[in-house]
Assembly symmetry: C2
Homo-oligomer: 581 residues x 2
Amino acid sequence: MSQSPAQKRPHRASQREKGDPLVLPPGTTSAQFKDFIKRAQNICGADNVFVVETEDQLVDGTYKEPNKTHDMHHLYDRSHFVCSATIAPRDVPGVQDIMRLCNELEIPVWTFSIGRNTGYGGAAPRVPGSICLDIGKNMNRILEVNVEGAYAVVEPGVTYFDMHEYLEQHDLRKHVWLDVPDLGGGSIIGNASERGVGYTPYGDHFMMHCGMEVILPNGDLVRTGMGALPDKTAGHKPGVPPHEQPGNRAWHLFNYGFGPYNDGIFTQSSLGIIVKMGIWLMPNPGGYQAYMITFPKDDDVKQVMDIIRPLRLQMVMQNVPTLRSVLMDAAVYGDKASYHDSKEPLTEAELDDIAKKLNIGRWNFYGALYGPEPIRNVMWSVIKEAFSTVPGAKFYFPEDRPEPHSILRTRALTMQGIPTYDELRWIDWLPNGAHLFFSPIAKVSGDDAMLQYKVTKKRSREAGLDILCDFVIGMREMHHIVCIVFDREDPSSKKKAHWLIRTLIADCAEHGWGEYRTHLAVMDQIAETYNFNDNAQLKLNEQIKNALDPKGILAPGKNGIWPRNYPKEEWVMDGKVEPLE
Amino acid sequence: MSQSPAQKRPHRASQREKGDPLVLPPGTTSAQFKDFIKRAQNICGADNVFVVETEDQLVDGTYKEPNKTHDMHHLYDRSHFVCSATIAPRDVPGVQDIMRLCNELEIPVWTFSIGRNTGYGGAAPRVPGSICLDIGKNMNRILEVNVEGAYAVVEPGVTYFDMHEYLEQHDLRKHVWLDVPDLGGGSIIGNASERGVGYTPYGDHFMMHCGMEVILPNGDLVRTGMGALPDKTAGHKPGVPPHEQPGNRAWHLFNYGFGPYNDGIFTQSSLGIIVKMGIWLMPNPGGYQAYMITFPKDDDVKQVMDIIRPLRLQMVMQNVPTLRSVLMDAAVYGDKASYHDSKEPLTEAELDDIAKKLNIGRWNFYGALYGPEPIRNVMWSVIKEAFSTVPGAKFYFPEDRPEPHSILRTRALTMQGIPTYDELRWIDWLPNGAHLFFSPIAKVSGDDAMLQYKVTKKRSREAGLDILCDFVIGMREMHHIVCIVFDREDPSSKKKAHWLIRTLIADCAEHGWGEYRTHLAVMDQIAETYNFNDNAQLKLNEQIKNALDPKGILAPGKNGIWPRNYPKEEWVMDGKVEPLE
Ligand SMILES: Cc1cc2nc3c(=O)[nH]c(=O)nc-3n(C[C@H](O)[C@H](O)[C@H](O)COP(=O)(O)OP(=O)(O)OC[C@H]3O[C@@H](n4cnc5c(N)ncnc54)[C@H](O)[C@@H]3O)c2cc1C
Ligand SMILES: Cc1cc2nc3c(=O)[nH]c(=O)nc-3n(C[C@H](O)[C@H](O)[C@H](O)COP(=O)(O)OP(=O)(O)OC[C@H]3O[C@@H](n4cnc5c(N)ncnc54)[C@H](O)[C@@H]3O)c2cc1C
């Protein structure tokens, strides 16, 4: 084994020299940094290297124009989770060269594809002063859309909107549909790599990916699954550089290949940079109908969830439906001020009023039917009958909801894979709206839903924040997505959000619930809750990390996994949080 | 890092001492072995330790009574792939202790759950003289069947038959169905760990697993996914040993947990021993109908496959259907001698005769419809119309095939998850019937199917063997399962089978096709075909292997992955094979 890497400590503020970034990479001197930047410019071109030198350069931007330097929805200071420089490689060898250079100089790297990972940290790195690789800026080609095999192959910069436009322009939606998350601005690779979700039957994005090309922390290039088998009939030729070799014909058809199936370790991880990925498209089902069902009472969540479970398991509910709390919908119709001038969390009565005013429920369910009409009719009659047992349940099709910003009409697009921006509106519930996602997993059951909702509601009240949440319902579990909206220009609002998420993580762990994905600030705290058998899983992850990335170059600290050369006591942000006054 | 482990070389025959096994573990002396056995007896009880001392003890047995020492369907000598001892731990700590002991003494271990992995090596280890852990013998409890969540949790020794009986006894099939492979004698864990397939909509067994408890090569115990989060509400209590702690309520509902998703690296690998696993059960679909469609001409495979692709993708074909060549079916009806006294591969005319005699096609398709009658009717009318375009296609329901050994009547059980033994009959196509599986993956397409079939047929003819094969059709790819049947008491028959598989691996690699799983003897050859970018994937696997198992204790050589202390030039069995005379 090569010489041990230097121990890395958080960079302490010190005198800055001209040309220095706001925060140097840990353990890197000014001179080393400048050397690095020069060499990075040689690799990627000066245009593709941007050093963060002043606070002024930290402009939050918006979802549509996201920044590439820090967390737009900053929970701490804007400059807390900040990179030293953003670098956009031009191609695969550029990424490899940067990784090799970073290994040589022992500089940490954080990757994003687009940087719209809002609520989870946006473009920001976990370790301040890391280099951010803006991998999607130049590497943004749709490499293939294969109608027969119903898949697409993309580079990191391809967004859901890009893919949708491609399908539209080539008149392919009659053959295949895309699955999209609530918003269409994220990247297909970034989202799947974080195991994000969408709302058609293909909503589990990791499950629906197939075949990756990955750059390891040391710069090596691997193709996973069938991609590891060179395919002459696809045009594989000696002499062509590996990343330009056409892939095996089954690369994006069959995930597992031969031997250990590795793709999972490249998700939510710091073990590789995905530079190409296959994603399955859904065959056009030959018919579609979105629907909404409203439930009048806050407590209905219990009964509703118990109705959902068997229907979802049976695939009578074919897609990933959502059950949304009243404010999740209301916040899309208008901001808090449009309903009320209270600074306090809205009361039950106020929530009932809003529901009434908008003609929605305290809970609102959005699903869709897929297939030819006779099949849809069978499904719909079963669904309608089941939910009719909930007193006051009302049923709608999109034409029944002509009002502006109708959620049903937006979901009717989302659930057939047409991306939109509409859901962005709830972020502005408060002025200078920013948000954090708290996303625990639970069994699809009335008791779990009710209890998880109650815990969240109680703590939100205590924090003085409204609760906006929905349940995203997979086959056997649900992602409960709690959208903690705060005012990013108001320190007390930030403090509330921060207190709330840390408190909820702890509360939920007590109930046996864990989160599926999280924000930079609380990665350590959540990783610590997954501590079965003396942190056996974390230790396993650390062992693999240290083997594949002995210098801890790629995304140190991501999801609580610290490489050997990052002393934990100096880096871990534990669950402690200032009490609310 | 601790002291480097000793280099391991194949054991050369030497004078054997009393009490020595037929083959000592590589690098282990007689005295060390005896010390090991004594200590293993202390851990597991003398009853659970069996040393292979003589050739006489190598009794092939049958599928129903499989041996636990060597490959029942031996391609080389019976004693080639042989273990030194078979040890059956009594419980999880027993497995951990054995792994620690093997680390201490640097003795390699091979694991099986049941040992019915026929066609792929059975119970035998890759490295002769390894210890075989018969993990399913004592650890064979059904830990839970959860109807609401539609899953079961099992230990390694639970077979498909065991689970089926449990469902029957508790009258649970009205709620949930199991997915089963062709035969029901294998273990749920062993099959999923090899990424085996079944034939209901839940046929992808790795996809349908959820949550593992794994013992790492060093003896550490890990729970994956949500299992890593201790759950007090499920009864988790400090003081109880980890493996006895009840699991998180979402352990078997949600696969991914938080951070890297590791389960894939424990499949087809040498990185862990799975001691508990969740498997999803399919909700009873509320209606079922199996069907068979026969096609008269050998060339029909092309047209048929192009009809299947869109229907399967659209889930009009809801399950994993199979398209079987005439002899695959015929061999279940009777052995070769019952049709013909030829020692040569049957000719086209002879195959046509057999098809006619049995009233089956040259190709026979088996699928099923799931759901209430109106839904099944829609699906069936689409399927029937599509296949009616193939001249001479005939359609059958089970009641139309009352003959003994009707494949359709067996498949009608299999496709609803009822295990059987019927398919065993094709192994006896030749006297002393033994078999090897050759299993390449391909796109679901007429061209691929036709070409792959032609290549296989041509080489089978050259080898002087009949071709028995079927296509197992997943959503986007198919597993082409070629059953190479040979006479294990006839050296020339074995030579033919051996020549055939090695030649087919090489031929298929030329066409860009790779195998999904394989026999011990050809693991190295297949691993070598997955050699993209200078074997990047293999190197990645080796890095992880060396990190988690620095002494190369667990399953060295499995699927071509050799730990650092096994010099490859001494161990790899490459693609060379004696020419046929
Ligand atoms: C209103 C609203 C609704 C939302 N709804 C959803 C939803 O329905 N479902 C959902 O999943 N999310 C949702 N999100 C969260 C987020 O917007 C999406 O997940 C988005 O797709 C993230 O996209 P991105 O490509 O910009 O991420 P990026 O910032 O580019 O990537 C996110 C992270 O993934 C990793 N990563 C990115 N690229 C790579 C790569 N090439 N190789 C390795 N790792 C990589 C990095 O760790 C990175 O930090 C929502 C957000 C908002 C504001
Ligand atoms: C006629 C016939 C039809 C068949 N049809 C099918 C079919 O339809 N589908 C199919 O998939 N197979 C099929 N097979 C192959 C085989 O019988 C099955 O795959 C069977 O399920 C293997 O079962 P097992 O549990 O005995 O395997 P084992 O021998 O117990 O295990 C197989 C391998 O898995 C690994 N393993 C086992 N247990 C563990 C563990 N606890 N932890 C880690 N690794 C472990 C080991 O490497 C082991 O060598 C068929 C075989 C025959 C003869």
